[in-house]
Amino acid sequence: MTALKLFNPLLRSILLAVLFGSITVGAQAQVNVDVPTNIRVGISLSGSGSSAATEVLSADLKRTGMISPVGAGSGDYIASGEATDSGVTGKLVKKTGEEVFSQTFSGKPRAAVHQFADAITKAVTGLPGFASSKLAFISDATGAKELYLGDIDGYGAHAITHDGVISASPSLSHDGSKLTYTSYKSGYPDIYLIDLSSGSRNRIAFFPGINSGPAFSPDGSQIAMTLSKDGNPEVYVMPASGGSPTRLTRTRGAETSPSWSPTGDRLVYSSDDRGSPQLFISSSTDVSEMDHLVTGNSYCTKPDWSPDGKLICFTTRTGGQFQIGVFDVASRTAHLITTSGGQDPAWAADSRHLVYSNNGHLYLLDVVSHQSLPIDTAVGGAGEPTVSR
């Protein structure tokens, strides 16, 4: 009789829920219950540019995945201000009327609105916004692989090289002022540095062999890169102003795509020294023990370390398709966060969103909700995105 009681409907559904629940939890991202979702911010802008500004501001806030822009009358917060040609004077108050901040954002209208959006995002979620971030990428739309630069919402993407040769692996400095990338302008893959405000471009690494995959350190003073000048593709670090590179890896395999920890003391990169490419962490100053990151995937390339240091995203290849994976640094576990394809991910400033490419299009992915939204740059054949922070 007692045994039969075990199979009563209530107990059975509890058992099933526990079983089913544990399976689904394993397959999904860890949802942090402290992460805010659906904070309602009412928008009330005046001024000559108010209509366009409201549209941009709403889109920026919505894109965070945590904020719902609503009408002026309602909301947990009210964002108000004046938008003109010279910028935005913005104010954020709680629905109680308590002021959170009041600030003037000077500059071109769209940029000023993005800054206002970022200030609101930071104030209401605690996370940095990424509306002001720049996005650079490679496109072969013209027949040759050129370098493009625009805003992270896709606006204003335009070619900044017109060399008619292969351009590759761009990396924006975190402050968005400089860009480093690989170009075959000399006939060989060399690394160049572009100052985005002056437009000047200088070749900074052109050793024999390949010079590729450059990545700015968090403070912008150094660039990590792959060089094969000593007989094999290895990771090196070089001052951004030019100078002798310091070698950091010594293996028989190829080490590529270094990415800096936010504290600048370590690098994560891909190495195929064990057969297929895997992720490793090493010191950014000396040759050191290579710490293998076990992801459960047999092909892992192009890692990127999140701004808050907690996650490393990467490209993996399964069933003949690329997918994006995320490795949790503290728990040393990994899971895939795309199912329809994706590669070459780059983190946005909030460590929650990243930009990746799939079949020539760029997408913004929320690693908490796993939702991908297309970034409309109006440029086809796009890949290898990099994002400023």
Partner: protein, 180 residues
Amino acid sequence: MNKKCLGTLLIIATLALAACDDNKDKNYSGMGTENGGLPTGDNVDLNSGIPPTRPDGINPDKDVNYSTLAADTVYFAFDSSTIPGAERAKLGAVADWLKANQGRSLFLAGHADKRGTPEYNRALGERRALAVREYLAGLGVPAASLYTNSYGSDRPAVQGDTEEAYAKNRRVEIGVIIKP
């Protein structure tokens, strides 16, 4: 020989080695010369192959003829830079051609199929080119006459998403540098 002579010889040898060490501090800055200086014996790493070089005054896109030795293009297995046994005879033929054509130099261009991410493919193409160079050097071809470059997956020989296309793109092409 007496201890004093030995001591002097040791000092001289140490000083000579120290002079070689100067090359370790040599500035390989991008502001320097095209080849940034040749590494000395001290910088050769047992884990690495022969360091690559770039030919002076040669435009890789204009001054290399890939037709002459097109039949000897070396093909590779997926994600691999090991020269398959079946391909080695081609490199024997290349070495023979060089013996018959003294003074010519080769430009070995490494490629990968598109199934890798761009940066990894660039390194894979490089490893393939360096592997071919090393193998030819092992056959007695002077390393100084062998140059390399990698194009990653950016210059496929065959377009398409079939296994046949991919197989044709995982290659090192043996280019002959046109005599000046």
